[in-house]
């Protein structure tokens, strides 16, 4: 079994006085693709934002490569190698594709690797190279999603968090994106992605966690999870 890259232990997280995460524990190992599945408002984005440093847990610990990172600011989290591709994509609409990608390499560690990373992003998504001077707001949804994944890669990450990249995209486009995720993993980057679609997530990931009302209720290899009674009941209705 390979090294534990990210380890969350018994996290409690609040939005103001509302408790959004209860006793959440999970592990992501190096070079894994892990899915985090759950219905609306189950707390998936809250969990990713906690890892990214936008929210700080009031209880529990977050370890990355063996170090506690639970009090760090978001920009520091990027510096140590965790990038998040956020829900809703959050492009910089007034900048062109290349400028969006370049902003991804803003952190000190990635500045020196900019040219190398840019080549890699263009190899992964050749379309971005041909559109590099196009204004980001004029890209289609799928193209925007490629751009923000590329933007995340520009930061030289060790771990990439993806929040509902499938939102509003056609199955064909989504298939391409998942193929890209596998290639990203081949380069040694670990992936934790959030989705609502159980069937597809179990297909694309190696392990998965299931969230329900702010708690992790299930976790394990996808093969085991497919057999799991609870998942079937909740999502397949059988």
């Amino acid at each position: 079994m390979s090294e534990e890259l990210l380890k969350l232990e018994k996290l409690a997280v609040f939005h103001g006085s509302f408790q959004a995460l209860w006793d959440v524990s999970l592990v992501v190992r190096s070079r894994e693709i892990v899915a985090l599945i759950g219905a609306n408002t189950s707390g998936k984005s809250t969990l990713l934002d906690t890892i990214s440093g936008f929210l700080h847990p009031s209880k529990g610990t977050i370890e990355f490569q063996g170090k506690d990172i639970s009090g760090m600011d978001p920009f520091k989290i990027v510096d140590i190698g965790i990038t998040q591709v956020p829900e809703g994509r959050r492009i910089f609409p007034d900048l062109n594709v290349l400028e969006n990608l370049i902003l991804g390499s803003y952190n000190r560690r990635a500045r020196g690797e900019r040219e190398k990373n840019l080549e890699r992003v263009y190899t992964l998504f050749p379309l971005l190279k041909s559109r590099k001077n196009q204004q980001a707001r004029t890209l289609s949804g799928g193209e925007q999603q490629m751009m923000v994944i590329g933007r995340g890669l520009m930061s030289s990450p060790k771990l990439m968090l993806l929040d509902e990249m499938s939102l509003g995209l056609a199955p064909v486009v989504l298939g391409e994106l998942y193929k890209a995720l596998r290639e990203i993993r081949e380069r040694g980057i670990t992936i934790l992605f959030v989705e609502q679609n159980v069937r597809q997530s179990l297909q694309e990931a190696e392990r998965a966690y299931v969230m329900e009302s702010g708690r992790v209720v299930l976790g394990g290899d996808v093969a085991e999870l497919r057999e799991e009674e609870k998942i079937r009941k909740a999502y397949f209705g059988v």
Partner: protein, 287 residues
Amino acid sequence: MIDLISTIIMGFLLGGLYALIALGLSLVFGVMRLINVAHGDIVVLGSYLGYAAMTILGMDPILSLFFGIPLMFALGLGIQKFFLNRAFKVSMEAPLIIAFGLSIILQNIYQIIWSPMSRGLTTSYALKSFNIGEIYFPLVYILDFSIALVVMIFLREFLRRSYMGRAINAASQDRKAAQLMGINTDRVFAFTFAIAMALAGVAGICFGLTFPFVPTSGMSFLIIAFGVIVLGGLGSILGTFIGGIVFGLTQTLGSYFFGVNAQLLVAYLMVLVVLSIRPQGIFGRQG
């Protein structure tokens, strides 16, 4: 006819000064969504610092900017770091209240140190005039306009090319996305406020060279700056520049046709008209 032409040229040149006064307010609002109600008083701080350099050290007001700009910049960093960044974490209203407080404190400091009397940065060149054919206008207007132009080009290039400039631009478009890029937005805010203060410092010197000022002049600067921003639209330097010129032209033409007392009224009627036709400003983006 000659009178009308010189009125138009004066309005145009004056517009550069107005744009310079508005620049800092526009930048701070664009990046931090804060209406810095102390902006006008900070411009006056620039004027008084120039006045102090002139009367105490015998320094030329424009040359005093070599010290004035770093000083204003440092003050801006301090104010943002110790007051505003903390206030931003409390609520959206807290920084606004701090800005109000700052405005009142500054006005009172000016009263105590420099008295309510009207002051000016009177230099030998400020009184000279300049002519093209039969049209005469004050040299200092051309000086103001040139300084405004240089400052705006400089700011534009800084925002486009430097790391900090790009970070400022990113944070103004989407703060959370900027943080996801590894940008320290507290630092970006501090730099933005510091740059705005330095810009206000330059504006204060230019204004002081051209017109007299009193401790409460800040209020009228703030009102002019609002007008300019509304005309030009937020979020672009070019827009602020055009807004300043439209405001300046409207004011001088208003004075030419309707008398001196009507000049600001005409300028603000113009603001209202533009607002009703193009609510995003002449150069502002849609939506």
